[in-house]
Amino acid sequence: MSVVSDQTVDLREPTNWRRTKNRIATVVMWVAFVATLVPLILVLYTVVSKGIGAISWQFLSGSPIPPNIMPLGTGGMGPAVVGTLIITGFAALISIPLGVLGAVYINEYGGKGWLAKFIAFMADVMTGVPSIVMGLFIFTIWVLHFGYSGLAGSFALACLMLPIVIRSTYEMLLLVPNHLREASYALGATKSRVTLTVVLPAAVGGIVSGALLAVARAAGETAPLVLVILTVEATNTNLFSGANTALSTQIFVNAQSPYVGAEARAWGAALTLIVISFLLMIIARVVTARFTRYTR
């Protein structure tokens, strides 16, 4: 900070305190940024470095899942991969249409009525319900009567996803500018037309992102599944009957075990799960870009 002697106008920051505050804020910001990155990178690094050794085609597709004491290389996680995909897939099939329709009702149809407010409030409350409660709920009303099944797992995950889908879709519908609705109404469109041909297409990018976030979140849920699908070792492609298994519950079971093979399988399953979520996120990006090509 050298002193410029023959300066006519002083264009430097006027006070030292202001400059100091600026520096402090910048430093705090960078510290926060690094602090956020550290756990993110550490988690990814740990899972990849410990899990990559387990990954092989046999690990991803082999069946059945071997007993805990068996070393890596026998059997595989195939049943869990299949279970996760069909259970989460069906949960998405239940919760995404319901959630989107619910949000459409709240934002487009319910207006300021008490029912819309009530549904929105309940959805927010449901977001805060611990996932194991959803598991207990399905265990009580479904599993006790019809037995363990992948379907019960789908129900539990759907309960979990529904409020997330409602909330994210609702936020996206709110962002659709009213003048687009008016333009459509002014051409003689009915309310359902306006919603189907203008509002939903304008919001579809955000709706898809929100829905896939919910799917990714559900795919990693363990607590509700442990209670309702029983976590077996054999592949069960029948969603509707018989106990099933999933990657998340396999991580839970294997990681508790003291055996080397089981530990490696747990890490491998964790990495597989992260990769599945990652792929979903990429799909979400691609789909969003495809649907929103006219919005800019």
Partner: protein, 292 residues
């Protein structure tokens, strides 16, 4: 698409003078069929009375301009013609509003059916986030036209009608949002006339545009009135004199005791009369620029 000679109004307005300096070629004003018959209409938003006791007829193939200061209810009345106020919670209309003899606010009337006949162009150009083609084809499609060749024909005709075809014919698949403000507004006009309405309502269609784009829209309005009846709200008095046949002047009634402001219709007549020989002192004050 040559301009109709007898309707051209040329004026130079000098707002500092009490009288307007005008060179007006008077349009022949024999009223045609009455399109809208408004009788003692008051419009409320909840408990708030936005306009009170408006009565006026709107005639076929004329351009009717609504002028007046902000809050005088001219947009509110305009939006009542195609029941756009229905979309506002708490909006209510008293009195009688007839469209070609039919009561617009009777119970059996479907607002969608009304809006198919009575289109609207908004202040801010609001193309859909769809391609130019899909923007224009939107209205015909929701009315059940699926035939590709028929749609192509309608899109071209409407874009030509809105004087936009030559500028966009090679990029119909591009986003409607990529157009400039003036082009976007003409796209909105094309979208409106694609459903072949009877009436086109325009809510300050040029107020967000630059002078060149404004003139283009005004030229378009003069051409459009051959086929449509047009009601236009404008803040720009020169614009009213340039495009309209009849003018309605709205003003604000301020009740200082209850602190309410209500719009009223002060004077309605041929545009030339309103601007050259206003019968009401408030109209004179407004059109000469001494107020508002």
């Amino acid at each position: 698409m040559e301009q109709p000679e007898q309707d051209t109004v040329e004026q130079t307005v000098s707002t500092n003078l009490p009288r307007l300096e005008t060179t007006v070629k008077a349009p022949s004003l024999t009223p045609g069929t009455t399109i809208f018959d408004v009788r003692n209409v008051s419009i409320y938003y909840g408990a708030f009375k936005a306009v009170t006791d408006v009565s006026l007829p709107i005639y076929e193939h004329e351009v009717t301009a609504f002028i007046g200061s902000s809050g005088s209810g001219k947009s509110t009345v305009l939006r009542a013609f195609n029941r756009m106020n229905d979309l506002v919670t708490g909006a209510r209309l008293d009195g009688e509003m007839r469209y070609r003899g039919a009561d617009l606010y009777s119970k059996e009337v479907s607002p969608a059916a009304v809006r198919r006949r009575i289109g609207m162009v908004f202040q801010k150009p609001n193309p859909f986030p769809k391609s130019i083609y899909d923007n224009v084809a939107y209205g015909p499609r929701i009315n059940g036209i699926r035939n590709k060749a028929r749609l192509d024909e309608i899109v071209e005709k409407s874009l030509r009608g809105a004087a936009l075809w030559d500028e966009v014919k090679n990029r119909l698949k591009q986003s409607g949002l990529a157009l400039s403000g003036g082009q976007a507004q003409r796209l909105c006009i094309a979208r409106t006339i694609a459903v072949e309405p009877d009436v086109v309502l325009m809510d300050e269609p040029a107020s967000a545009l630059d002078p060149i784009a404004t003139l283009a829209i005004e030229d378009l309005i003069r051409v459009l009135k051959e086929n449509y009846t047009i009601v236009i709200v404008t803040h720009n008095m020169q614009q009213a004199t340039r495009v309209s046949d009849r003018t309605a002047f709205f003003s604000v009634l301020t009740d200082s005791k209850n602190d309410t402001r209500t719009g009223i219709l002060v004077e309605y007549g041929p545009t030339q009369q309103i601007f050259e020989d206003p019968h009401d002192s408030r109209t004179q004050a407004y059109v000469t620029g001494r107020m508002g």
